[in-house]
Symmetry: D2
């Protein structure tokens, strides 16, 4: 069953490439890039662009294109595009859509986000290579999906040592994306620096409200009428990284902190799954600690 | 036209009383209160109650009852209820629904919330007695509704003097509720102490995020994906009073600060109007800097 | 683990009773009922009421009360309440909150709603006794929860025979609630008549729009900008029963029918789980093909 | 004040052109169009595109470009683009953003949508030339904005005659867009045929639910838990035209039909204003009775 779906996804994405561009705005970019693709025989399937306000004047583009036998041509395409990138002082990335990203999920005790990701793994375009946890609770669940589970209890003293082991495993498995699915450990700057814009965290509040621990308790005490969840890329500033997605749900005076937590858990998993799906589809660019999400 | 509607509202509310109760929870309260009303010949139309979590154990109730000729009986009813209130150590308030609350609206330059309130004044059950502003911009608008407009330009030096004049006008007009409809002056503790839980402010962010000035600019800079507005009672702690209502709207990376402001202005007026309508219908109780809203 | 949680739920609900009442409105009902409970030594924990518009004048009430040793007193309480019920011509039901309702889930091929219910079975206050399906796909999943799975392939010719077998199993297991978690068979009037207001269905559209089969395809073809899901009690009129809960999600011109189905599947499971949780907490009354939901 | 804002809008839009394209998809379109603009000296500010599913394979694009002195160059640009349009069998439209569209608003008795449009006329990029009504109620309001008000009471017998007068007035005023802001008359096919995709109606329900008259009453009777409003282009099939925008609000069992109407009126005006603003910004294309909205 799973193979059938994977094949379906692959065939849907077959020969599709995704090109992400960021540079200072100036005339001719779209024309130049679309000419390049046309001359290579590619058909533009989708194209989105965004320019920040005139003062900043930063240009962003995402193009999905179709090119027969792209798999074998991607390296050359990449190479040839370097000229354009140099001319326009562009940063760019080019992806083969049919190659699924390799994902590692980090989790602590609360497993609702992990479950959601595993559950949606048929429709999310990813290859979950492994799960890492500082608790043993999710071992059985993870292994029932035939996914390796690594148990790393972390203490203050062992943190550095364990992170370096984790980095080793991530490297070995050639991991493209790390998902913190309610992982209650703070990562060190060293760890983060190995995966810039490649670690997605779900924070259980509507950021920037209720940064830090126990946001549902804080939300209850403040008496808010709406609670939320926020998916963001992890940076060295706790809960301050670029926001990818947020969503909210209405609560009532009769909802105690426990109830907020239960309601919030549904928002968390939906918001995280959305953010992850956009990352997997190369729909997100970051700039000035903000995200551009081409939907 | 307006008279017809007012008459309709009055007839809808004719002989309806509203009883709000707050006390420590214990058995027999509902029974005792409902007996009291039954013996007085009243029919309970609506009854809502809420008890905070067992540790606090605070009980709240709102009862709407119908009693023929209530207008002439309210004082006696109030008097007689004092016995029960004493027995249960209750705080209570009793209102005649057909008496509209007298309202003063404070506004600065942005008039969208003021406009919404004036516009909805046919359906909101209130009597707008006057508008006070530190700018002259809304004079014409307000006077077109035959409502007195007071212009009080405030400076640091004149603040106390002006507030005392304003307090005089509010007292003279027997004002029940003050609405800060984007009034950009901070009220002094003295002013606030005259109107506890009787001043509603609209803050143009999803509190507790973006307290203080320029929340839309801050929201833009933080890159949030959803913006909001918050209506709350005013206390001495700026933007920290009990939240009455909040609502939100989705925004995109292409929405600049100006656009956030425009989108937000629609949320602000809806949220403020909702909070005001609940206050006018005596649906709100406060406790521990939170609101209980019986809807 | 599960036992611990169940114990927690049971202890939370220990000695709590729920009383649901429906009758023609008249003075004295609240007083009479609350006196009854007070005299029996019960403390009213929550009380909600609703009266339909004056023409209809139908009164509804839900009371949650606490009474020590309720388990052993419920039958007597029920018996004694009959007098009041007779006086006011009331319909009423009295439930012991600590007794979980026995649930049967019906499912066809799509298992997202089934999964959600099984997953939430720790927080939903129910005892899933069995799962019935006209396909074999979910057998493994269901049995991994140690829940019996019954496979009944239905054909036109065998429908009556199979339904009568199913009715037997439901009776044997003393089932209180049947959940159609994307069960793609139409139940006969005979089957439905055995479980009035005891069968909850999830329909994958925002009813009354897109009644019947393939609502996502129809929604796509109509070009709607928002899709939804609806949980309702099942009656003989297909998709016409009393609506319990609905929710929606925004979609875009770029979302094809397949994408609508995927987005919709998330709404379906949340909406169904909410409706089920309200039913389990005895929060729903029905009248004139509508629901009153005391939240 | 208004002039200042208009000037601001005009300066914001100065030298901006908008190009809308629709054709059968094939390689090279983006490249060809962007080259054309680049060679003319234009800088692409925004570009959005959409292709319907492979079976249909219809391509849509909206480009906003900046070109100095565009005002004087637009006719030539249009002329020159005809070659490309012919080659690709395109339908296209080119607009000068600084030219406000001329708008006529039709209204009956309920004036909340009219008020909203007049109120937002500072931020909506339009020039309201006139208001037409079959009732006299809004005359004063409209004229307070210095906008001509035409009163045309319509009867069955005079409908054709009056429509032909109205068509005359619309032609005289060179009207680009007709907004039916709760206009309770059905327009004839003849009238509609003069303004294809140029008449926006607000329907007070979440279409396709509750087509026709009295949708709030119908929604109340069906017991829905969410109500909505729909803005759509008018076609000969009543309430069946391409949907531009929809939004919804939650309602409760305690909300009677009157309350639904009040809540709905807020959704109606927001939804209509949004749809109108997108039309004014040339963000909407139609195809197969659906809209593509580039946001």
């Amino acid at each position: 069953m799973k193979d059938v779906i994977n094949n379906a996804t692959q065939s849907k994405n077959k020969n599709l490439g995704r090109l992400l561009i960021s540079c200072v705005d100036r005339p001719g970019i779209v024309s130049c890039v679309s000419n390049f693709l046309f001359e290579k025989g590619a058909n533009i399937v989708t194209s989105d662009q965004h320019t920040t306000d005139p003062q900043e004047g930063q240009f962003f583009m995402r193009i999905v294109f179709h090119l027969p036998d792209l798999k074998n041509k991607l390296d050359d395409l990449n190479q040839d595009f370097l000229h354009i990138a140099r001319d326009y002082d562009m940063q760019f990335e080019m992806y083969l859509a049919e190659v699924k990203k390799k994902v590692a999920i980090f989790v602590s005790k609360e497993d609702h986000c992990l479950r959601e990701l595993l559950w949606q793994s048929n429709t999310l375009d990813m290859d979950v290579k492994l799960v890492i946890s500082n608790h043993n609770d999710s071992k059985e669940l993870v292994e029932s999906y035939n996914i390796p589970f690594y148990y790393f209890p972390v203490t203050k003293d062992t943190k550095d040592e364990i992170e370096s082991k984790q980095l080793g495993i991530l490297k070995e498995n050639d991991i493209d994306l790390i998902i913190l699915a309610r992982y209650m450990q703070i990562l060190t700057p060293n760890f983060i620096s190995h995966h810039p814009d490649r670690i997605i965290n779900i924070h259980h509040s509507f950021l920037p409200a209720f940064i830090g621990a126990n946001p549902y308790q804080s939300a209850y005490e403040r008496g808010v009428k709406i609670i939320g969840a926020t998916a963001h890329y992890v940076t060295n500033d706790l809960d301050e990284g670029p926001i990818i997605e947020q969503d909210v749900e209405r609560v009532y005076h009769s909802d105690h902190a426990k109830e907020l937590k239960r309601i919030g858990s549904h928002i968390e998993r939906i918001v995280l799954a959305r953010a992850v799906s956009w990352h997997l589809d190369d729909k997100i660019l970051t700039f000035n600690n903000k995200t551009i999400v081409f939907r």
